[in-house]
Symmetry: C2
Subunit: 357 residues, 2 copies
């Protein structure tokens, strides 16, 4: 099969980690008889520098006409003083909106080989962590109406609107239940239904969708309690489904519990098969170009791409297993280095993973 | 001096922990020559049972005419099936609104004697945790306009409004800076200014207020990052100031990091001296009436009351020191029990603390 992949290396360490990921994908193509055709496009700071805009139209066009999008990282201090709508992050929001990427999957997995990196007490992470946060990504307060009013409650007022409609909740809930069916069949829907009207709608729709998945156990949790329970007893969660804003917070919190942000991939899915895949870490400008970045999160993002956009489940698994093998052979990049391990650079890590495919 | 304190024992373990706290306050009165006059009023489930309403008008009146309000806990499964606006939690929201309790102080302190209870790795909590979250409590999405629209983006839509005006941010920022002046002189303002208009207003007002506190170091952090940083390195925070919604989440997260929710007090302050003081734990109906509840969080809430509403700083400190002494003598209620310690009940714990005053 032939697949068209749009790549957005972006800023900082983005280009380096994408490079290793392409090598991994090419090797997978070679072994399993697929052809990946990569088309590199601009977004983020580099796009600002070259075109004046964080997200050129051409980028959106190419992404729309691809089977999937692979992104490195965008942003950096160089562009932090620009006004809000010209900042590199606008590229992410723009892509989410333009491509209709309504479902953000954020697995938080603690690898046995990296258990010690978790900030949690060893008895709490004894049984590992394996949570998938399913964050709604094109609705809620991120995309609601906002503005200013001269005469507010106490002087000038600024407002933002958290809004959810039935269809939006329905599709994200369905995504969460489908994913739970392939995992431990437990969904926790997180909301603030004791306060928010949008949460009450959210909860009632999730309850309806759940009826189509009788095998999945559903429970509901308030967001403040979820922020506590994640730390207290992370194993109580399998799939967490929640709004854009709560998902932003809880997915990052869950990631931190694993202690290795450099390991964690993400997928942002549209209806149909299109998806955008990227590591959750940032552009790390301080180590950019030094062959120090950990390419694993991006390589695991490519595995998610194979699974969710290209329907290459087996190939995805082969990549994930290769990563585990390399970790078990004690190779580590700087960010996950610990005593007695072998320190390797970005390129060496890429090669080691290719070698295990 | 004579002080009028409204007490709201509420539900579950509420009455038991309030009882011990009154004994502590009476002893303080005896030693330092103050008179505390307590007037008990109804709120929460017990108010629903007796009056049909979670927050009777009489309760609001009595609280308004008191020097301070001391609350045990409200809520429980018995009332969980009631419609939203008749639920026990409405009493809390109602009191916050009616009394104008705009500033919620949520100290998250890890006591040396209870270090092991923290879910964090011991090397992370080596230097302890001592954070004060200052949460805005009468604005934002909790009190904004909400409703439904038949024709939303994808079917029926529900919406809530996050709104902040200059004066609201100004006063909560000022509270945070004042508190920081008495602590380590560091304020972290948490927002989502890369997305929300209300956060951009928030940030600009905080920056203005900061000019009046040149000794205080101010920094800004996005809420998703704050949720991670709290876990990774809690000592980087002194005072966190944030919106109602973000404060709800982050204050609970910070509390959980200490591992002993039964120890943590809170204060909710109005302009002037009025304040409401309550433990952060819930009503724990499973152990209600069994002399098992930990009264320390409520006793420490009373200490905050002495400090913030009654200007009795020294007396507040005496209570806090008494609590530490009892812990150092290895007395523990069930929730903070560990090997080698002496298990005591609610009443014994109260007596022990009275004994150390
Ligand atoms: C960059 C920012 C707009 C973004 C968000 O809040 O969605 C980021 O935090 C993320 O989670 O992808
Ligand atoms: C009971 C609920 C309305 C309340 C809130 O969200 O404010 C609680 O979670 C709290 O933090 O005091």
């Amino acid at each position: 099969m032939k697949f068209n992949i749009a790549t957005i290396p972006g800023d900082g360490i983005g280009p380096e980690v994408i490079e290793e990921t392409i090598l991994v994908l090419n090797k997978i193509g070679e072994i399993y008889g697929h052809e990946f055709s990569f088309q590199e496009v601009l977004a983020g700071g580099i796009a600002i520098d070259k075109t004046g805009k964080p997200l050129p139209e051409e980028t959106v066009e190419v992404c729309k006409n691809s089977d999937a999008v692979l992104l490195g990282a965008v942003g950096g201090p160089k562009w932090d003083t620009l006004p809000g709508d010209q900042r590199p992050e606008k590229a992410l929001l723009g892509l989410r909106g333009a491509l209709g990427l309504y479902a953000n999957l954020r697995p938080a997995v603690l690898y046995t080989a990296l258990k010690e990196a978790s900030p949690l007490r060893s008895d709490i992470v004894e049984q590992g962590i394996d949570i998938c946060v399913v964050r709604e990504l094109t609705g809620g307060i991120y995309f609601g109406e906002r503005g200013r009013k001269k005469e507010g409650k106490m002087g000038e007022e600024a407002y933002d609107t958290e809004a959810y409609s039935v269809g939006e909740v329905e599709r994200i809930a369905r995504t969460a239940f489908e994913i739970a069916m392939k995992r431990d069949k437990r969904v926790t829907s997180v909301d603030k239904a004791n306060i928010l009207e949008s949460s009450r709608l959210w909860r009632s729709v999730v309850v309806e969708v759940a009826k189509d998945y009788p095998e999945v156990a559903l429970d509901h949790m308030y967001v403040d309690n979820a922020a506590m329970q994640l730390i207290r007893y992370p194993q109580q969660f399998d799939v967490i489904v929640t709004s854009n804003m709560f998902g932003d917070i809880l997915s990052d919190e869950a990631s931190m519990l694993t202690g290795s942000i450099g390991m964690l991939p993400s997928a942002s899915l549209a209806e149909g098969n299109l998806g955008m895949y990227e590591p959750i870490h940032g552009s790390a400008p301080d180590i950019a170009g030094e062959n120090k970045a950990n390419p694993i999160a991006t390589i695991l993002s490519a595995a998610m791409m194979l699974r969710y956009s290209l329907q290459l489940d087996k190939e995805a698994q082969v990549i994930e297993e290769a990563v585990i093998k390399v970790l078990e052979k004690n190779y580590r990049t700087g960010d996950i280095m610990s005593k007695g391990m072998t320190l390797v650079g970005t390129q060496e890590m890429g090669k080691l993973i290719v070698g295990e495919l």
